[in-house]
Structure formats: C-alpha cells, structure tokens
Subunit: 600 residues, 2 copies
C-alpha cells in the first residue's frame, strides 16, 4: 500500500519536474501534534510516530526519526522499501547531509513551503545553490497525491475566562508591544497556535490533544489582526462572547485564508518574528523592503511564566489529576490478574477516572500505557487488538495527562504488578532517586535547565547508565503539553529554546527513566513549579514546588539501595500526597492511600 | 604625582585634538598578565590591580574595575581625583555607557589601537557615529606622556624539546592548515602569545609568570611567518637551535616591528582570526578587499587537549609540586607560633621548596598567601611590610603554582593553624565535599563545564551559600595558568569561551571556596585531567584523574558533617597522595605525611 502511495507521489513529482520531495511532520504553524489533514508523512510512509521527515526521490525513500522511535519505525517501515535513518547514531547522515548526497548537480528539491520552517528552507537552498539546483517551495504534492485527504477543520473557539487566565488579552498585547518597541519593530507576526491562544485567552479544538485553533496573528502598534475565521460556514465557530471579547480587546477577526495574501502588502517595516518557527512560505511572501528582526516570540517567555492566578489553578488541576491517578493505581493493584485488562483498556479506565474531575476537557496527549518490554519503547503506542494483556507480574508504565480549565497535567508512574527481579527493583529505585534529586535542588537565580539536568542524570551516570531524552520540558496552561523555553536537558542543541533561565512561575517536568530493550521500562514524572526561596548576599535562591500528587509505587523500591536523604525526600513527598489527596478518599480506598504513601 | 601625570597626558591630548583618552589594561596580544612596558593604566592611575580601564577627559578621569578590586582600588585612588567606577554594581555605567554620557557631540575619542580589542573598538566607533565624533586609534599618548617608560623587552627564547611537547611544530602547523581549509581561509593571523608559543614549541620570558615571548604569527597554506625578532640587538635572543628548529619547520623569522606594516599588503584573501582577541589596529590595517572569518583560534582547542607525552609529563610535574606543597605544610604546621613568619615570607619559603624541584622555572602566577580575614579577599596580594603575621590560630590560604618543563601547576590549600571555630570547620568541610563531589563525577562525553559546575556548587547552594567565581579553569602546559576553552562555570557569559565540551586530555582546575568578609576564606584547588572511561550502549563515559597531589588538611575537617561517600572519596584521594609522594619523604617527615593522609 505504501509502495503504491509513493509511486503515485512520484508521478506528481515527475509532472512537476521535482527530483526529490521532502515531507516533514508539521502543520502550517510548527505544531508538535498535527491534525489529520496534516498527517502527510504518515500517509506516505506508514510510520505513525510524532516526529520524522520523509525524503522521496525517484529511486528510493528515507525516513529520518530520532531515538524515541527507532524500534517502532523499524517495525512500521517493514516492507515499504523506505530506509530508516536513525538520527543521532554514528555515521547516519542528517537530512541536510543526505540531501547533499542524493541530489545530483542541477536537480530540484520540492516541498510544501507552508510546512517547512524558514530556517530549514534556507539551509536546503544553500545546498541547492552549490548544486546549481532549483528549490520548489510552493507545491503541496503530498496533498495532490492523497485522494480522500481529511478536511482542514475549524472547530468552535471558546473564551478562557480571566479567572482561569489571570490576565486580559489587551494587557498581554500591550506587553508584546513593549517588547516590539525594545526590539525596534513595527510589526510582529505570530504563527504558533499556542502563542496566539495564550495571547487572546481563547481556546479551540483544531489539533488533537492541544486546545488551540488554527490562526495567524499580526500585531502592530495600533492593530491586532487575527486570521482565523473559516471562509465558508465559520460563523458558528466564533460565538458572540468570543467576538465581543476580541472587539473589546481591539482585535480584528479575518479569514484564515487571507493571511498569506496579506503578507506582500507590508512595506518598509521592521518585522519581529521567530525565523526558527515561521514557515518558508511566510518569508518568501514578504516584500524585499521589509527588515526581519529574528527573535524568539515574546509570548513564549510570557506564557511560560505562569501568573499567580494560573499557579493557583494549576495546583487545583493537579489535585484532581492526582485523585484520578491514585484511584487508577488502587484499581490496578486490586484487580490485576483477577479481571481482564490490556494496555488500551487500562488507559481507557484511567481516562474515565479523569473525566470524573470537574472542568476536565480532554487528554493532554495520547496516553502511553506500556506493559513489560513495551515500557522500553520510549514513545510506545498501544493499539486495540495488538496490545499487551496486563498480568500480575512485572512493570506497567503509564504516562498520561489531562487538560482542565485549571491547566494541563503530565504525569508518569510505573507500577509493580507482582514480584520484580532484583534488577527491576534496582532500576526502579535508581529512577526514584534521580527524580527526587533534581526536584529537591535549591539553586541560584539565573540557573538554566542545562545547569541542573545533571542533578537527575548523575545518579544514572555514576552507574554507567543514561536515558536518551531530556529530563524535562515546560508544560502549557490548557495549551501544549510540551512548551518552550524552559526544560532540563544537558546538551546544547542549536536552534532549540529549551534552556531558558528558570523563572518563578515556570512549570517543568522532572522525568528520568530507564529502558531495557526486551525487558522493561521505568519512568517517573512529576511537574515542578519554580519558586523564589531565600534571598541573601549570594543572590536569589530558587526551589521547586511539587505540583504532581500521586503515590510512587513503594513495591518497586529497594530501600537498601537508598541513602537516608533519598528516604527522607520520598517520605516528605508521600506525606504531601496523602495530605492533599486524602480528603477525596474514604473507607478501604483511604486506608490503601495511607499504605501507599507510608514512610519507609 | 598622579595628578601631574594626568595633566601631562591632557597636554598631549590637547596637542592631538583628542577630547577623551582610554587606557585599558592590556598588551598588544590580549594577554592576561602584562609586562612593565604595558603598565600604562597603572602609571596614570596608581591602581595596581590586574584589571581596569582608565578613561581621561579634559575635566576628569574615571577608573573602571570589577568586584575583586573595589576595596584595593578605592584605597589606591585616594587623592588622585580619579573616580572609581564599580563595574557590576547597580547604577554604575559600563565603559560604553559612560562614553555615551561624557562625549559631547562632535568630540573625539583616542586610544592606542594596539591595546584595544577590535570588537571593543567597533562598539566605541558606533557611539562616535551617533555623536558625529572622531575615533583616533593610532595614538599612544600614554607612552608619549610617560617619561622613563620601561623598554619593551625581548628575552631569550628557548626550544621546548619534543620529549616535553610531544608533537613537532610542523605537525601542529599542518593541523592548523586543516582547520583553515575547513573554514575556507587562505590566511590565519594569530596574535595571542600562548597560542604562538604552543604552535612553535618555543618558550620565552617576556611576560611575568607566563613563559611566552612577544610575537605575531601569520600562517598561509605554504608559509609560516613569525614576527618576533627585536630589530636591534635581538640576535642573542634567538639561539642557533631555535633558529634551526624554525627553519626545519618551515617558519620564517621576521622583525616584531614589521607585523603591522605587513598587514595592508594582504589582498583578496579570506583571513581566519578571532575578532574577540585581535587588536583594533590589526583590523584597521587590513585592506578593504579581504574577508574576515571570525572564529576562535584553532590552536586554542588543540593546545587545551594535552597529548599523551604532555599528560605523562604533567603527572611528573605534579609529583614535584606536591612534594613542595606537602613539605611546606609540614614546615608550617611544625613552626607556626615558634618562628616568625608572615604572608610574604611563607610564600617565599614555599617558592624555595618548589625551586628544589628539577626543571622548575618560575611561579605560574603571583602566589596568594592570605592569613585570617585576608583569605576572604579573593585576589589578595600580600606586600612586604604591610602583610599579616601568621600566628598559631585560624586559617591560612595559599594559592600557588609553578612552571616546570613538564608543565604548569595551580594548587590551593587552606591550612588550619590552631583551633578553628565550629563555623570555620563547617565551612572547611563544605569546601572539601564540594571539591570531591565535582572531581568524582562520571559523565557522558559531550558534557561541558556548564553542565558539571553544579556538582561542586550544589553542596553550597543547598545551604544558601555560593562563591562568586568559576569553579575552575583550563591550565596551559608551561604556558598561561588560565587557559581557554575549558572550565567549570554555570553561567553563560556572551563572548567567553570557557565551556567547551570536555575532551580527553584537557586539564581543568576544581576550586570551590568560601569567603566570609572580616573572618576567613577557604579555597581548595585540585587540577583534574579529563579521561575516557567505559564506553557502552549509552555512549562514552568520562571521568577525572587527579593530577594535584598534596594533603587536604584534616585538622580543618569536621567528620560528623561528612557523608560516608565524602569520607571514602577523601580517603581514596589521600591514599593516592601518600603512595605517590612517600618515595620522596623519610623519617619524621614521612611519618607526618602518613598521619596527614590517614583515613578518617
């Protein structure tokens, strides 16, 4: 099937005179998750992971993806003839190096310029320059060669009340204008959906797991344009209170389709935009006489720093979320081996518990419910039918989260379902110690995730172990579950904004893990709120407040492998969990919660 | 006296039509330490610190220096009429902001373009551009107005045999040419003295504490020019074996003075140079048709990675250095309170012990020997006459090092000379734990000092303490004691190259400290050699080998404040110290060494 799809694509390439066609995993807004309309790479490769780029030539095809997906991609690409390129492994070329190799003198490279970032396109253009080739950036061949492509949906938009958002849109826009002034810009173009939703206190449902809506924003010193309305039949998507709110806050609503045609009309202005986030098409659409000031979107840092209203709400969301996860744990421990359950049904059960929480909207990402060896697949996705039965032995890892009006959550717990091997217990204890070590770090203001990541990782490194992912990422407020610019990750990644100075109010996950192929995977994840601590002659000290509240399975912990400080930290955490969750439990369940959070 | 010197300078300014004259602390080569010829700022201000910039206008003068020197500068500037500008304090302008303030429309700014960095000059020029003023970069008014200025000395140069350097000059030059090719450059201009000395396996004595010689280098694909010979009477500085070595390695020796006149003759070439290190005059001397490729000097990384021969030599140097420091400790502990000693005489005694070591050349920097409260002054300099007597109580901090043919050393030990207060012992133990924690870090390749710094600092931060300096710096091989690009420092400093990936063979110091004004200062410093450890599925693990070998004063350690792991680390280190130093001790001294390195 994939082979047929690819040969259809090659026909379109031939017709358009394109020798090599590139399909990234993206939408028009550089979103991490994309709606079905944008799943072009999946359609032409069969690979279902959330990250990857397909490069198709007349002779072959290659899929580039990262360590999270090596096992999954290898499986899914079987029989397609597509070569798997394991990015980051020794001797595996990057996409750019690969293009250097496959593109012959004078050949052309094509892509849909709306889904390729401006900065990437620039690099590709340089390669073509050297090869005297041609760049075709205005051909959506993937779309043309995809019969029955899903429609681009514009779902209804809703207003996030200021008792949830904590700040009005006009105040936020004023802050953006301040930053524009500082940068000497007259126009700011914003195309990232979570930034637009945050700025206007609006939410939608156009991207799976992400309550955003398709839109482009243009801010000048006296105007704010929102290109978001569907041309035909989009009236009902914009209820009266939303329209009124936009008007009150000086925002003009325009058709989504009018954005690209609008761009060439800007003349002689300095435009603030993030060249690492906007599309190639956007840059190509701008007139020669504009000047681009390339900076991270000012909204990125603003929305990462949660305001006091948001913080208070987030705490409430985590109590609800903790109740659901603790109830799930109780159910799991009580019923495993007694009733039939598999990875999919267990995830559904958890989702049902979350849905009981007030103001719950939807999962904040696809739950990873991975039993036994499946836990070693970092971004495992269980499918009905093929997924594993859960039995009363080994480990079950569940990474899940929810969107509430009070914020978004992201939590991972790994559960011991019976006797564990000594190695499993040692690994479980290692992960607990690493998570605790980072979250109990006291640090001076100005420190970044890059400085602090080793607090979790040192526990692994001293034993010659590691995990091939960041220790943590920022989390949005009823927005993307992965949010810039804060995170924990020791490596410098050019162009990646994940190591900003940790500001009071930022929310970051702390999620070390261990993955033993064919055996087990263990990850634990808490969300941390960055807080100001004491200020003295040395400066402003900072610490992390626990947001996530759910027991860490003591059945996995080997106390003899813990130091006194580890035990104290775990007991302190469990005491908090008990105190905050107990009011929502009673009877047998309450007794169980006490036992699950007992001091060790 | 200073006032007279300044009014003389102002006469020269008037004659040259210069309204504002700037004198930094630098030589023609961006050296950290400068020879007496270059101490122009000191001559015109009276301030003797190692860092500071003097700005003189017709009406006044201001000296800019940093936190290390506020107390000293305030004292030394008394009565001179020069205003002290405490850089980094609130509301104190930077030099650039100050120039913005004092320069009136159309006024001119002057300096000796050979001692001002190209990048700084560019900033000054922008200010003048806005003010429609004139930049005069070719006037050494400081030199003109300084009667009796010391001569610019060219001391004899000597060859560092390949049994010490481990690699021939032609091989090093070939590696530089490889980098030039990679960067697309036809010419590389090198003006930093340690890079030139390293590249050519030559050493000299033109800068205090730094065995380098005044020189400029120009490398093309087929030529290597060394502008270093003194025009008159420089014959004896270049012995026959040095001249022969240069010839063998294809290096042409030219007069030092011919460098600047040579530059305008370069046409149509791409020149690799480090714009953050070369002088304003250099950039101004280049023709319009050259293209500058601004990169760190390739030699910086090459010389930081010590080759196997250098590593083996460095180990030997540290045994000799450790013997001297241990003997000093023995002498100090035995004699304090019994014979008269002060900070200066104690430092001299230590220097005498170092001089007994084979192939010892000179101190690698001015010894910091600071008793009691003086230890809290991070860059304390004891002066004969005014320095403190050492008594049998409190703490003595000694930060010292030596240049040997086998490499350069840098070691700090703090000694308990009698009963300590509980706070002093707690602080001493804290510093020991922090130093041990960093040096025992096992880490994955690609980690930088920025990632690892917290391993030392976390011990401080958890108690709400900190030290306002980096945890460590690179160390040259019979070169500068402070060497780029490796170091331990958690903050990102724009333009500072101190957080390179830690490569096998790099030598970095590990020197946390605590400074309590008016009471005491404690610093401990070991040099660490970066080594490859196990390689497994997670990658290449790295660890640090101890280079420095000298007892850590157990009289300062409060064992009850240590964890088991701290004790084990300290005992392991002391066992190494004993094993490697014992062969050089006998009798009572040997027994003492055993006691000083006993397990706790």
């Amino acid at each position: 099937m994939i082979k047929e799809r690819l040969s259809k694509l090659r026909e379109h390439m031939k017709a358009a005179g394109i020798d090599c066609y590139l399909i990234p995993t993206s939408d028009y807004h550089d979103s991490e998750y994309v709606s079905s309309f944008f799943m072009v790479r999946k359609y032409f490769s069969g690979f279902t992971g959330s990250a990857g780029t397909l490069v198709v030539t007349m002779e072959g095809a290659a899929l580039f993806t990262d360590g999270r997906y090596f096992i999954q991609a290898a499986k899914e690409l079987e029989g397609t003839g597509i070569k798997l390129m394991k990015v980051g492994e020794a001797k595996v070329p990057t996409i750019k190096e690969y293009l250097e190799q496959v593109l012959k003198e004078g050949q052309s490279l094509g892509f849909d310029g709306r889904v390729v970032k401006a900065n990437d396109a620039k690099d590709y253009e340089e390669i073509l320059g050297r090869k005297k080739g041609r760049l075709v950036w205005d051909k959506d061949l993937g779309g043309e060669a995809w019969p029955g492509r899903p429609a681009l949906l514009h779902q209804p938009v809703f207003l996030l009340d200021e008792r949830y958002s904590g700040e009005g849109a006009s105040s936020k826009i004023a802050r953006v204008r301040e930053k524009m002034k500082e940068e000497g810009a007259q126009i700011h173009i914003l195309t990232t959906l979570d930034d637009i939703a945050w700025l206007l206190n609006l939410r939608g449902n156009d991207v799976q797991n992400s309550p955003v809506f398709l839109a482009y924003g243009v801010i000048t010193m006296d105007k704010a344009l929102l290109f978001a309305q569907e041309e035909k039949g989009g009236e009902e998507a914009w209820p009266g209170n939303v329209r009124a709110y936009l008007e009150e806050n000086g925002v003009t609503l325009l058709p989504y389709e009018d954005f690209y045609p609008y761009l060439p009309g800007i003349h002689g202005k300095k435009i603030l935009l993030s060249a690492g986030r906007v599309s190639c098409m956007l840059k190509k659409s701008l007139a020669q006489d504009v000047e681009i000031i390339d900076r991270p979107n000012p909204t990125a840092l603003m929305k990462a720093v949660k305001n006091p209203v948001e913080r208070e709400n987030i705490r409430k969301a985590h109590v609800k979320d903790g109740v659901a996860v603790a109830r799930f744990m109780y159910w799991l421990k009580k019923n495993v081996g007694k009733i039939s359950m598999d990875e999919v049904s267990a995830a559904q059960y958890l989702e049902g518990l979350r849905r009981e929480g007030e103001n719950y909207i939807e999962p904040s990402f696809d739950t990873i419910c991975a039993y036994g060896p499946n836990g070693a697949i970092i971004h495992y996705s269980a499918e009905p039918g093929s997924c594993a039965q859960i039995r009363p032995e080994g480990l079950l890892m569940v990474d899940s989260g929810g969107h509430y009006l009070e914020g978004s959550t992201d939590i991972t717990r790994t559960f011991a379902l019976g006797e564990l091997t000594p190695q499993m217990k040692a690994h479980f204890t290692l992960v607990v110690r690493a998570m605790l070590n980072l979250k109990c770090t006291k640090f001076l203001y100005e420190a970044r995730g890059m400085n602090l990541d080793i607090r979790a990782r040192e526990i692994f490194w001293e034993q010659g172990l590691d995990y091939k992912h960041g220790t943590g990422h920022g989390v949005g407020y009823l927005l993307n579950v992965h949010e810039d610019p804060n995170g924990f990750w020791w490596k410098k990644t050019p162009g990646r904004e994940d190591s900003a100075i940790l500001e009071e109010g930022m929310v970051t996950t702390d999620e070390p893990g261990i993955y033993i192929e064919g055996s087990h995977g263990i990850r634990l994840e808490n969300e941390l709120l960055c807080r100001k601590g004491e200020e003295n002659q040395y400066g402003q000290f900072m610490y992390f407040e626990d947001l996530t509240l759910a027991p860490i399975d003591l059945d996995g912990v080997e106390v003899s492998l813990m130091q006194e400080i580890d035990r104290k930290r775990l007991n302190d955490y469990h005491q908090q969990v008990y105190e905050k969750l107990a009011p929502y439990f009673e009877g047998e369940e309450l007794a169980w919660l006490g036992e699950a959070t007992r001091p060790i």
